[in-house]
Protein backbone atom coordinates (compact mmCIF):
# COMPACT_ATOMS: atom_id res chain seq x y z
CA UNK A 1 0.00 0.00 0.00
CA UNK A 2 3.06 2.27 -0.09
CA UNK A 3 1.97 3.79 -3.41
CA UNK A 4 -1.26 5.14 -1.90
CA UNK A 5 0.05 8.71 -1.51
CA UNK A 6 1.32 8.70 -5.08
CA UNK A 7 -1.99 7.51 -6.47
CA UNK A 8 -3.85 9.99 -4.29
CA UNK A 9 -1.70 12.85 -5.49
CA UNK A 10 -2.04 11.81 -9.11
CA UNK A 11 -5.83 11.72 -8.87
CA UNK A 12 -5.95 15.15 -7.20
CA UNK A 13 -3.96 16.59 -10.07
CA UNK A 14 -6.21 14.86 -12.57
CA UNK A 15 -9.21 16.45 -10.84
CA UNK A 16 -7.72 19.88 -11.43
CA UNK A 17 -5.74 20.73 -8.28
CA UNK A 18 -2.39 22.47 -8.61
CA UNK A 19 0.44 19.89 -8.41
CA UNK A 20 2.07 21.64 -5.45
CA UNK A 21 -1.18 21.65 -3.52
CA UNK A 22 -1.82 18.01 -4.42
CA UNK A 23 1.63 17.07 -3.12
CA UNK A 24 1.00 18.93 0.14
CA UNK A 25 -2.41 17.33 0.62
CA UNK A 26 -0.95 13.91 -0.08
CA UNK A 27 1.80 14.39 2.52
CA UNK A 28 -0.74 15.64 5.05
CA UNK A 29 -3.01 12.70 4.43
CA UNK A 30 -0.17 10.31 5.21
CA UNK A 31 0.49 12.21 8.42
CA UNK A 32 -3.18 12.09 9.38
CA UNK A 33 -3.11 8.32 8.99
CA UNK A 34 -0.01 8.37 11.19
CA UNK A 35 -1.98 10.17 13.92
CA UNK A 36 -4.36 7.24 13.94
CA UNK A 37 -1.52 4.72 13.85
CA UNK A 38 -2.77 3.23 10.61
CA UNK A 39 -2.11 3.51 6.89
CA UNK A 40 -4.08 5.79 4.54
CA UNK A 41 -5.81 2.91 2.82
CA UNK A 42 -7.30 1.75 6.12
CA UNK A 43 -8.36 5.22 7.24
CA UNK A 44 -9.59 6.69 3.97
CA UNK A 45 -10.28 3.79 1.60
CA UNK A 46 -9.08 3.62 -2.03
CA UNK A 47 -6.84 6.56 -2.94
CA UNK A 48 -8.70 7.81 -6.00
CA UNK A 49 -12.11 7.65 -4.35
CA UNK A 50 -10.90 9.62 -1.34
CA UNK A 51 -9.34 12.13 -3.73
CA UNK A 52 -12.71 12.67 -5.39
CA UNK A 53 -14.40 12.93 -2.03
CA UNK A 54 -11.89 15.47 -0.79
CA UNK A 55 -12.14 17.64 -3.90
CA UNK A 56 -15.93 17.57 -3.56
CA UNK A 57 -15.71 18.56 0.09
CA UNK A 58 -13.33 21.39 -0.63
CA UNK A 59 -15.67 22.77 -3.25
CA UNK A 60 -18.69 22.58 -0.95
CA UNK A 61 -19.67 25.67 1.02
CA UNK A 62 -19.08 25.60 4.77
CA UNK A 63 -21.79 25.10 7.36
CA UNK A 64 -25.43 24.34 7.25
CA UNK A 65 -27.16 27.57 6.33
CA UNK A 66 -25.26 28.53 3.20
CA UNK A 67 -26.41 25.70 1.03
CA UNK A 68 -26.56 25.54 -2.68
CA UNK A 69 -24.13 27.90 -4.24
CA UNK A 70 -23.94 27.49 -7.98
CA UNK A 71 -20.53 26.81 -9.43
CA UNK A 72 -18.85 27.67 -12.73
CA UNK A 73 -20.70 27.30 -16.03
CA UNK A 74 -20.33 23.72 -17.27
CA UNK A 75 -22.57 23.98 -20.32
CA UNK A 76 -23.87 26.92 -22.31
CA UNK A 77 -26.12 26.71 -25.34
CA UNK A 78 -26.95 29.93 -27.18
CA UNK A 79 -29.43 30.06 -30.05
CA UNK A 80 -28.90 26.41 -30.87
CA UNK A 81 -30.93 24.96 -33.74
CA UNK A 82 -31.06 21.71 -35.65
CA UNK A 83 -32.75 20.78 -38.92
CA UNK A 84 -33.15 17.48 -40.65
CA UNK A 85 -33.42 18.19 -44.34
CA UNK A 86 -36.10 20.89 -44.41
CA UNK A 87 -37.72 20.05 -41.10
CA UNK A 88 -36.72 22.19 -38.12
CA UNK A 89 -36.27 19.91 -35.12
CA UNK A 90 -35.68 22.80 -32.72
CA UNK A 91 -34.35 26.32 -32.93
CA UNK A 92 -33.28 29.16 -30.68
CA UNK A 93 -32.47 26.94 -27.71
CA UNK A 94 -30.68 28.73 -24.85
CA UNK A 95 -29.54 26.86 -21.78
CA UNK A 96 -26.89 27.56 -19.15
CA UNK A 97 -26.06 24.91 -16.56
CA UNK A 98 -23.61 25.56 -13.76
CA UNK A 99 -21.89 23.17 -11.40
CA UNK A 100 -24.36 22.13 -8.69
CA UNK A 101 -27.36 22.49 -11.00
CA UNK A 102 -29.67 20.00 -12.64
CA UNK A 103 -31.43 20.76 -15.92
CA UNK A 104 -34.25 18.67 -17.37
CA UNK A 105 -35.04 18.50 -21.08
CA UNK A 106 -38.72 17.66 -21.54
CA UNK A 107 -41.19 17.48 -24.41
CA UNK A 108 -43.29 15.06 -26.40
CA UNK A 109 -41.82 12.09 -28.24
CA UNK A 110 -40.08 13.14 -31.41
CA UNK A 111 -39.45 16.74 -30.42
CA UNK A 112 -35.69 16.24 -30.47
CA UNK A 113 -34.81 15.71 -26.79
CA UNK A 114 -32.22 13.04 -27.52
CA UNK A 115 -30.88 15.03 -30.46
CA UNK A 116 -30.40 18.07 -28.26
CA UNK A 117 -28.59 15.97 -25.65
CA UNK A 118 -26.24 14.68 -28.33
CA UNK A 119 -25.63 18.27 -29.38
CA UNK A 120 -24.74 19.02 -25.75
CA UNK A 121 -22.34 16.07 -25.79
CA UNK A 122 -20.71 17.22 -29.02
CA UNK A 123 -21.80 14.12 -30.92
CA UNK A 124 -24.00 16.14 -33.29
CA UNK A 125 -23.08 19.51 -34.74
CA UNK A 126 -25.91 22.07 -34.54
CA UNK A 127 -26.96 24.01 -37.65
CA UNK A 128 -27.21 27.25 -35.69
CA UNK A 129 -25.97 28.70 -32.42
CA UNK A 130 -23.02 27.93 -30.19
CA UNK A 131 -22.26 25.24 -27.63
CA UNK A 132 -19.66 25.60 -24.89
CA UNK A 133 -19.00 22.75 -22.55
CA UNK A 134 -16.51 21.83 -19.86
CA UNK A 135 -13.73 19.42 -20.72
CA UNK A 136 -14.75 16.33 -18.75
CA UNK A 137 -18.16 15.16 -19.88
CA UNK A 138 -19.99 11.91 -19.16
CA UNK A 139 -22.67 10.84 -21.63
CA UNK A 140 -25.21 8.11 -20.89
CA UNK A 141 -27.21 7.11 -23.99
CA UNK A 142 -30.71 5.71 -23.76
CA UNK A 143 -29.61 2.35 -25.09
CA UNK A 144 -26.63 0.64 -26.56
CA UNK A 145 -23.04 1.58 -25.97
CA UNK A 146 -22.29 -1.76 -24.34
CA UNK A 147 -20.99 -4.98 -25.87
CA UNK A 148 -23.21 -7.96 -25.12
CA UNK A 149 -20.46 -10.59 -24.87
CA UNK A 150 -18.27 -8.65 -22.42
CA UNK A 151 -18.72 -8.68 -18.65
CA UNK A 152 -19.33 -5.60 -16.51
CA UNK A 153 -15.71 -5.75 -15.26
CA UNK A 154 -14.43 -5.84 -18.82
CA UNK A 155 -16.52 -2.77 -19.62
CA UNK A 156 -15.03 -0.94 -16.63
CA UNK A 157 -11.54 -1.80 -17.84
CA UNK A 158 -12.29 -0.85 -21.44
CA UNK A 159 -14.01 2.47 -20.73
CA UNK A 160 -11.47 3.23 -18.01
CA UNK A 161 -8.63 2.71 -20.48
CA UNK A 162 -10.27 5.23 -22.82
CA UNK A 163 -10.09 7.75 -19.96
CA UNK A 164 -6.51 6.83 -19.11
CA UNK A 165 -7.28 4.76 -16.01
CA UNK A 166 -5.30 1.61 -15.20
CA UNK A 167 -7.44 -1.58 -15.18
CA UNK A 168 -7.37 -2.17 -11.42
CA UNK A 169 -8.51 1.36 -10.67
CA UNK A 170 -11.20 1.29 -13.36
CA UNK A 171 -12.59 -1.95 -11.95
CA UNK A 172 -12.61 -0.81 -8.33
CA UNK A 173 -14.25 2.50 -9.29
CA UNK A 174 -16.85 0.72 -11.41
CA UNK A 175 -17.68 -1.72 -8.64
CA UNK A 176 -17.98 1.12 -6.13
CA UNK A 177 -20.28 3.17 -8.38
CA UNK A 178 -22.41 0.10 -9.16
CA UNK A 179 -22.89 -0.49 -5.44
CA UNK A 180 -24.42 2.98 -5.10
CA UNK A 181 -27.11 1.84 -7.52
CA UNK A 182 -27.60 -1.32 -5.44
CA UNK A 183 -25.96 -3.48 -8.08
CA UNK A 184 -23.16 -6.00 -7.54
CA UNK A 185 -21.90 -7.23 -10.89
CA UNK A 186 -21.50 -11.02 -10.92
CA UNK A 187 -18.03 -12.05 -12.09
CA UNK A 188 -17.93 -13.69 -15.49
CA UNK A 189 -21.48 -12.77 -16.44
CA UNK A 190 -21.73 -11.32 -19.95
CA UNK A 191 -23.85 -8.21 -20.39
CA UNK A 192 -26.35 -9.99 -22.63
CA UNK A 193 -27.52 -11.94 -19.58
CA UNK A 194 -28.34 -8.76 -17.64
CA UNK A 195 -31.86 -7.37 -17.40
CA UNK A 196 -32.64 -4.13 -19.23
CA UNK A 197 -32.58 -2.18 -15.98
CA UNK A 198 -29.21 -3.57 -14.95
CA UNK A 199 -27.78 -2.81 -18.37
CA UNK A 200 -28.95 0.76 -17.88
CA UNK A 201 -27.10 0.82 -14.55
CA UNK A 202 -23.99 -0.30 -16.38
CA UNK A 203 -24.44 2.62 -18.78
CA UNK A 204 -24.75 5.01 -15.84
CA UNK A 205 -21.62 3.65 -14.19
CA UNK A 206 -19.68 3.91 -17.45
CA UNK A 207 -20.79 7.52 -17.89
CA UNK A 208 -19.49 8.43 -14.45
CA UNK A 209 -16.38 6.25 -14.38
CA UNK A 210 -13.92 9.06 -15.13
CA UNK A 211 -15.44 11.54 -12.67
CA UNK A 212 -16.92 14.00 -15.20
CA UNK A 213 -17.95 17.55 -14.27
CA UNK A 214 -20.94 17.47 -16.62
CA UNK A 215 -23.27 14.47 -16.84
CA UNK A 216 -25.62 14.11 -19.79
CA UNK A 217 -28.28 11.46 -19.22
CA UNK A 218 -30.91 10.26 -21.67
CA UNK A 219 -33.80 8.75 -19.65
CA UNK A 220 -31.28 6.64 -17.79
CA UNK A 221 -33.81 4.85 -15.57
CA UNK A 222 -35.67 2.86 -18.25
CA UNK A 223 -36.34 -0.60 -16.92
CA UNK A 224 -35.47 0.34 -13.35
CA UNK A 225 -37.66 -1.03 -10.61
CA UNK A 226 -39.05 1.41 -8.05
CA UNK A 227 -36.10 1.05 -5.65
CA UNK A 228 -33.49 1.61 -8.35
CA UNK A 229 -35.47 4.56 -9.64
CA UNK A 230 -35.29 6.22 -6.22
CA UNK A 231 -31.58 5.36 -6.00
CA UNK A 232 -31.13 7.11 -9.31
CA UNK A 233 -32.67 10.41 -8.21
CA UNK A 234 -30.78 10.18 -4.96
CA UNK A 235 -27.65 9.87 -7.08
CA UNK A 236 -28.65 12.95 -9.09
CA UNK A 237 -28.93 14.91 -5.84
CA UNK A 238 -25.53 13.61 -4.72
CA UNK A 239 -23.96 14.74 -8.00
CA UNK A 240 -25.52 18.14 -7.63
CA UNK A 241 -24.25 18.51 -4.09
CA UNK A 242 -20.83 17.46 -5.30
CA UNK A 243 -20.85 20.51 -7.59
CA UNK A 244 -21.38 18.65 -10.81
CA UNK A 245 -23.75 19.75 -13.54
CA UNK A 246 -26.43 17.32 -14.69
CA UNK A 247 -28.63 17.45 -17.78
CA UNK A 248 -31.29 14.76 -17.91
CA UNK A 249 -33.79 14.00 -20.64
CA UNK A 250 -37.02 12.93 -19.01
CA UNK A 251 -40.73 12.60 -19.64
CA UNK A 252 -41.55 12.24 -15.95
CA UNK A 253 -42.95 15.60 -15.01
CA UNK A 254 -43.27 14.90 -11.31
CA UNK A 255 -39.49 14.92 -11.01
CA UNK A 256 -39.28 18.50 -12.24
CA UNK A 257 -39.76 19.99 -8.80
CA UNK A 258 -36.29 18.69 -7.99
CA UNK A 259 -34.45 20.37 -10.86
CA UNK A 260 -33.06 23.88 -11.35
CA UNK A 261 -33.88 24.40 -15.04
CA UNK A 262 -36.58 22.96 -17.25
CA UNK A 263 -36.13 23.18 -20.99
CA UNK A 264 -39.42 22.36 -22.75
CA UNK A 265 -38.86 21.52 -26.40
CA UNK A 266 -42.62 21.69 -26.91
CA UNK A 267 -44.94 19.44 -28.84
CA UNK A 268 -43.67 17.35 -31.74
CA UNK A 269 -43.91 18.55 -35.30
CA UNK A 270 -41.65 21.56 -35.61
CA UNK A 271 -43.93 24.18 -34.11
CA UNK A 272 -41.07 26.57 -33.63
Amino acid sequence: MSDWPARFEEELVRLGLQPARARRLSAETAEQAGEHGTDPDRLFGPAHLYARHLVTELRAPALVSERHVSGPVMLRLAGVGKRYRRRTVFSGVDLTVRGGEVAAIVGANGCGKSTLLRVCAGLIRPDAGTVHRTRRVGFVPQDGGTASWLTADEHFTLFGAAAGMVPRKARSTGTHLAARLAWRPAPGQPVQQLSGGTRQKLNLVLGELHGPDLLLLDEPYQGFDQGSYLDFWQQVRAWREAGRAVVVVTHLLHELQNVDHVLDLGAAGGNR
Binding site: E31, Q32, E35, L43, Y50, L54
Partner: protein, 110 residues
Amino acid sequence: MTPRPWLHGFLDLCLLAMLRDQPDYGYGLAHRLAVAGVADVPGGTLYPALLRLEQQGLAEPSWAPSDTGPRRKYYAITPAGLDLLAAQADEWRRFRDGVDSLVGSPEVAR
Protein backbone atom coordinates in the same frame (compact mmCIF):
# COMPACT_ATOMS: atom_id res chain seq x y z
CA MET B 1 -24.72 7.27 17.53
CA THR B 2 -25.70 10.28 15.51
CA PRO B 3 -27.15 9.55 12.08
CA ARG B 4 -24.72 10.51 9.33
CA PRO B 5 -26.77 13.30 7.68
CA TRP B 6 -27.17 15.11 11.01
CA LEU B 7 -23.51 14.90 11.70
CA HIS B 8 -22.71 16.27 8.30
CA GLY B 9 -24.72 19.39 9.00
CA PHE B 10 -23.27 20.07 12.42
CA LEU B 11 -19.71 18.84 12.19
CA ASP B 12 -18.28 22.23 11.21
CA LEU B 13 -20.11 23.87 14.10
CA CYS B 14 -18.76 21.28 16.56
CA LEU B 15 -15.23 21.65 15.20
CA LEU B 16 -15.26 25.44 15.52
CA ALA B 17 -16.64 25.18 19.06
CA MET B 18 -13.89 22.77 20.10
CA LEU B 19 -11.22 24.97 18.53
CA ARG B 20 -12.59 27.96 20.42
CA ASP B 21 -11.83 26.12 23.67
CA GLN B 22 -8.35 25.12 22.58
CA PRO B 23 -6.31 24.51 19.44
CA ASP B 24 -6.18 20.87 18.54
CA TYR B 25 -5.16 18.40 15.83
CA GLY B 26 -7.26 15.92 13.90
CA TYR B 27 -7.00 12.89 16.11
CA GLY B 28 -7.54 14.98 19.25
CA LEU B 29 -10.72 16.48 17.79
CA ALA B 30 -12.01 13.05 16.77
CA HIS B 31 -11.39 11.86 20.32
CA ARG B 32 -13.21 14.83 21.86
CA LEU B 33 -16.22 14.31 19.60
CA ALA B 34 -16.38 10.66 20.60
CA VAL B 35 -16.00 11.41 24.32
CA ALA B 36 -18.76 14.04 24.08
CA GLY B 37 -21.00 11.33 22.66
CA VAL B 38 -21.56 13.26 19.44
CA ALA B 39 -20.13 10.79 16.96
CA ASP B 40 -17.30 8.50 15.93
CA VAL B 41 -16.25 10.61 12.98
CA PRO B 42 -14.48 8.69 10.22
CA GLY B 43 -11.20 10.17 9.04
CA GLY B 44 -12.63 10.61 5.58
CA THR B 45 -15.22 12.99 7.02
CA LEU B 46 -13.11 14.78 9.61
CA TYR B 47 -10.03 15.78 7.65
CA PRO B 48 -11.82 17.22 4.63
CA ALA B 49 -13.95 19.31 7.02
CA LEU B 50 -10.81 20.66 8.71
CA LEU B 51 -9.26 21.50 5.36
CA ARG B 52 -12.42 23.32 4.40
CA LEU B 53 -12.27 25.42 7.59
CA GLU B 54 -8.66 26.21 6.81
CA GLN B 55 -9.39 27.09 3.19
CA GLN B 56 -12.14 29.49 4.24
CA GLY B 57 -9.99 31.23 6.81
CA LEU B 58 -12.05 30.02 9.76
CA ALA B 59 -9.20 28.02 11.32
CA GLU B 60 -5.46 28.53 11.09
CA PRO B 61 -3.04 25.63 11.00
CA SER B 62 0.36 25.34 12.59
CA TRP B 63 2.72 22.41 12.77
CA ALA B 64 4.02 20.89 15.97
CA PRO B 65 6.28 17.88 16.51
CA SER B 66 4.93 14.85 18.32
CA ASP B 67 6.78 12.48 20.65
CA THR B 68 5.33 9.36 19.15
CA GLY B 69 4.65 9.76 15.45
CA PRO B 70 4.76 12.24 12.58
CA ARG B 71 4.41 15.99 13.19
CA ARG B 72 0.90 17.20 13.87
CA LYS B 73 -1.13 19.91 12.25
CA TYR B 74 -2.80 21.94 14.96
CA TYR B 75 -5.73 24.21 14.16
CA ALA B 76 -6.61 27.44 15.98
CA ILE B 77 -9.82 29.37 15.43
CA THR B 78 -9.52 32.74 13.65
CA PRO B 79 -11.57 35.91 14.32
CA ALA B 80 -13.68 35.07 11.27
CA GLY B 81 -14.20 31.61 12.70
CA LEU B 82 -15.33 33.08 16.02
CA ASP B 83 -17.84 35.35 14.28
CA LEU B 84 -19.28 32.49 12.28
CA LEU B 85 -19.36 30.26 15.33
CA ALA B 86 -21.37 32.84 17.29
CA ALA B 87 -23.92 33.19 14.50
CA GLN B 88 -24.15 29.44 13.94
CA ALA B 89 -24.44 28.70 17.65
CA ASP B 90 -27.50 31.00 17.87
CA GLU B 91 -29.02 29.27 14.88
CA TRP B 92 -28.29 25.90 16.40
CA ARG B 93 -29.97 26.82 19.73
CA ARG B 94 -33.09 28.03 17.97
CA PHE B 95 -33.21 24.85 15.94
CA ARG B 96 -32.56 22.64 18.97
CA ASP B 97 -35.24 24.38 21.05
CA GLY B 98 -37.69 24.04 18.18
CA VAL B 99 -37.05 20.32 17.80
CA ASP B 100 -37.14 19.85 21.58
CA SER B 101 -40.50 21.55 21.81
CA LEU B 102 -41.89 19.13 19.24
CA VAL B 103 -40.19 15.96 20.41
CA GLY B 104 -40.72 16.68 24.08
CA SER B 105 -44.44 17.52 23.92
CA PRO B 106 -46.76 14.93 25.49
CA GLU B 107 -49.04 14.91 22.42
CA VAL B 108 -46.29 13.30 20.42
CA ALA B 109 -45.60 10.60 23.00
CA ARG B 110 -49.10 9.18 22.77
